[in-house]
C-alpha cells in the first residue's frame, strides 16, 4: 500500500498517462501498423500472415487503381477548395459582422455538423431525384424541359460533399478570425487598401493556421469518403472508399485491400505536403508584396 501511496503523493503523476496511452497504442497505432504489415504478407485461410511478399503492391500499382486514387484525390481537393472559398465569407461574417446572433448562428452551423451523415445524404435524395426539388426548379426556370436525375451523377456527389464538409471549414477559420483585432482591418482600409488587398495582406496571413487546419481536415477526410459515393454515385464511378470496402467485404482480399490503402495514403500524404508548401508560399508572398 505504501508504494502506491508514495506514487500518489509524489510530484510526478507520469504513470497516469499509461491507461490512455496504452489504449491509443493498442487500438490506434497498432491497427495502423497492421494495415501496413498486412499489405506486405500473403494470407491463407488459417493464418493472416503466412509469408512476406510484395505481390499485393504489384497487383495494386496498376493504372486503373491509380486512376481511382487520383480521381478521389481530385474530388477531395476540389471539395476542400470549394468549401474553403464558400466557408471563408461565412466565418468572416460570424467573426466580425454579427454580435447578438452569433450564438444562434453557430448553433445552426453545429447541427449539420453533428447530424448523422446518412440522414443528410438521404435528405439530398429529395432534392436531386428526378422528381426532386432541383429538377423541378430547373424545369420551372426553363433550363430543361424534362425532369433531370442528378442522383447518379458526379455533380450530385460534389454538391453533397460540399454540403457535408462546409461546416468543417467554417469552424477553424472562424476560430482563427475571432482572434484577430478588427482594428487591423480598419487600419489597412484607412491606409488606402482595397478590401481585396486587406484580405490578402492582413486577414489571410493572420488566419492561415485556421485555413490550413480546416483545409487539411476536409482534404484527408473526404479522400476516404465512402458513404456519399456509394449512396449517390450509383455503381458507375469508383472511389478509394468504395474500392477498399469492396476488397474487404466482397473480394475478401485483405492483402490487396491493405496494400491499396497504403498506396492511397502515400499519395494523400504527398498531396498534403504539396498543399502545405503551396499555403506557405502564398503566405510568404503576401507578406512582402513587392511589386
Amino acid at each position: 500500500m505504501s508504494a502506491i501511496k508514495k506514487l500518489f503523493l509524489s510530484e510526478k503523476y507520469y504513470f497516469l498517462v499509461l491507461p490512455a496511452l496504452s489504449w491509443q497504442v493498442l487500438f490506434f497505432l497498432i491497427p495502423l501498423l497492421f494495415v501496413g504489415l498486412m499489405a506486405c504478407f500473403e494470407h491463407t485461410s488459417e493464418q493472416l500472415f503466412a509469408y512476406p511478399t510484395l505481390e499485393n503492391f504489384r497487383l495494386v500499382c496498376t493504372a486503373p487503381h491509380f486512376a481511382i486514387i487520383f480521381r478521389s484525390l481530385w474530388l477531395a481537393m476540389s471539395t476542400a477548395l470549394f468549401a474553403l472559398f464558400a466557408a471563408y465569407p461565412i466565418a468572416y461574417f460570424l467573426a466580425f459582422k454579427v454580435d447578438r446572433f452569433r450564438f444562434f448562428l453557430l448553433f445552426l452551423l453545429a447541427i449539420p455538423f453533428l447530424v448523422n451523415i446518412l440522414v443528410q445524404v438521404y435528405a439530398w435524395f429529395f432534392v436531386l431525384d428526378k422528381q426532386g426539388m432541383l429538377s423541378q426548379a430547373f424545369m420551372f426556370i426553363g433550363l430543361s424541359k424534362q425532369p433531370i436525375n442528378f442522383l447518379d451523377t458526379l455533380f450530385g456527389v460534389r454538391v453533397v460533399m460540399l454540403h457535408i464538409y462546409l461546416p468543417f471549414l467554417v469552424m477553424p477559420i472562424f476560430t482563427a478570425l475571432e482572434k484577430i483585432d478588427y482594428r487591423l482591418v480598419e487600419a489597412s482600409l484607412d491606409l488606402g487598401a482595397s478590401f481585396f488587398a486587406t484580405f490578402t495582406r492582413v486577414l489571410m496571413p493572420l488566419s492561415m493556421p485556421g485555413i490550413k487546419n480546416g483545409f487539411f481536415l476536409v482534404l484527408v477526410t473526404s479522400f476516404g469518403e465512402y458513404i456519399i459515393p456509394i449512396l449517390l454515385g450509383g455503381n458507375k464511378v469508383f472511389f478509394v472508399g468504395t474500392i477498399i470496402s469492396e476488397y474487404f467485404f466482397i473480394g475478401k482480399d485483405w492483402g490487396k485491400g491493405t496494400a491499396f490503402i497504403c498506396i492511397s495514403c502515400l499519395v494523400l500524404v504527398i498531396a498534403v505536403l504539396i498543399w502545405n508548401f503551396i499555403f506557405n508560399a502564398v503566405t510568404m508572398r503576401s507578406k512582402r508584396f513587392v511589386s
Partner: protein, 260 residues
C-alpha cells in the same frame, strides 16, 4: 457599379444563401416525413402514418439499444481515460496530448480497416466489444481537446488551496477538479455519444454479422430505397441531435459563467 445598398448587404445575403443551402434538404426531408402518401414526391396531406410504422419495427429498437450501449460505454470510457490522462500529462515533459489529435485527422476508413485486422488477428469476436473499443478511440480524439481546454483554465491555486486545507490527492480530484470540469465533461460526454451514434465506417467494419447499430440500420434502409419511414426515422434523429447540440452549447455557456 453595384448599388451601395446591395453591396453593403451582399455578405449577409451570401450567408443567408449558405445557410439555406445547408438546411433546405433537411427541411424537405422533414416535411416529407409527414407526407400522407407514398412517393412520387408530391405532397398528399399531413399524416403521422410513417411514424407509427416506424415504431412497430422491432429491429430499430434493437439497433437503437445497441447504439445506446455502445455510445454510453464509449463515452464513459473516453471520459475516464481522458481525465486520468490530463492529470498525468500536466507536468509530463513530452507533448503526449497532441498524440490524440490525430484520431480525428485520419480517414475513418483506415482506422476501421486497421481495427478489423487487429481483431481478426487476435481472434477477438466482432460485435459489441469491438464497437465499444473502436468508438472509444474516436471518442478520445473528440473528448481530449474539449476537456483539455477546460482543464487548462483551472487555476493551480485551487488545487494547492485544497492541499493546504488538508485534503488528499484523491479527495481533491473528486471534489475540486471534477466539479470544475462539469460543463466540459458534460459537453464531451454528449459529443462522444453523438459521434458514436453517427459513426458509420468503423461500425460497418467492426460490427460483424450479428450486431447492428442505428447507423448501420439506417444505411440498409436507405440502400433498400427511398421510403417515408426513413424520413420519419431521420426526422427523429435530427430532432434529438438538435436538442443535444442545444443542450451542449447552453450548458457550456452557463456552466462556464457559473464556475468563473
Amino acid at each position: 457599379m453595384i448599388p451601395a445598398v446591395l453591396r453593403k448587404n451582399l455578405l449577409s445575403l451570401y450567408v443567408l444563401c449558405a445557410f439555406l443551402f445547408l438546411y433546405i434538404p433537411i427541411f424537405v426531408l422533414v416535411v416529407y416525413s409527414f407526407n400522407q402518401g407514398e412517393f412520387p414526391l408530391q405532397w398528399q396531406g399531413f399524416s403521422l402514418h410513417w411514424y407509427h410504422e416506424l415504431f412497430s419495427l422491432v429491429e430499430i429498437w434493437r439497433a437503437f439499444q445497441t447504439s445506446f450501449i455502445v455510445g454510453l460505454s464509449a463515452s464513459i470510457l473516453s471520459l475516464c481515460l481522458s481525465m486520468i490522462l490530463l492529470y498525468g500529462a500536466k507536468k509530463f515533459p513530452y507533448p503526449v496530448l497532441s498524440l490524440f489529435y490525430v484520431n480525428i485527422l485520419i480517414p475513418d476508413i483506415v482506422l476501421a480497416v486497421g481495427l478489423l485486422s487487429l481483431f481478426a488477428f487476435f481472434w477477438v469476436p466482432l460485435g459489441l466489444v469491438a464497437l465499444i473499443i473502436g468508438h472509444t478511440v474516436l471518442g478520445l480524439g473528440f473528448a481530449i481537446p474539449i476537456l483539455r481546454a477546460r482543464f487548462d483554465e483551472m487555476d493551480d491555486f485551487l488545487i494547492e488551496a485544497s492541499y493546504d486545507l488538508g485534503a488528499s490527492e484523491t479527495y481533491t480530484f473528486f471534489y475540486i477538479v471534477i466539479p470544475f470540469m462539469y460543463p466540459a465533461l458534460f459537453a464531451a460526454a454528449l459529443l462522444v455519444m453523438i459521434v458514436s451514434f453517427d459513426d458509420f465506417l468503423v461500425s460497418f467494419f467492426c460490427a460483424g454479422s450479428s450486431t447492428q447499430t442505428l447507423s448501420l440500420y439506417v444505411f440498409s434502409m436507405i440502400r433498400a430505397g427511398v421510403s417515408p419511414t426513413v424520413n420519419a426515422l431521420s426526422t427523429i434523429m435530427l430532432f434529438i441531435s438538435s436538442v443535444l447540440v442545444f443542450v451542449i452549447s447552453w450548458f457550456n455557456i452557463s456552466g462556464l459563467e457559473k464556475k468563473s
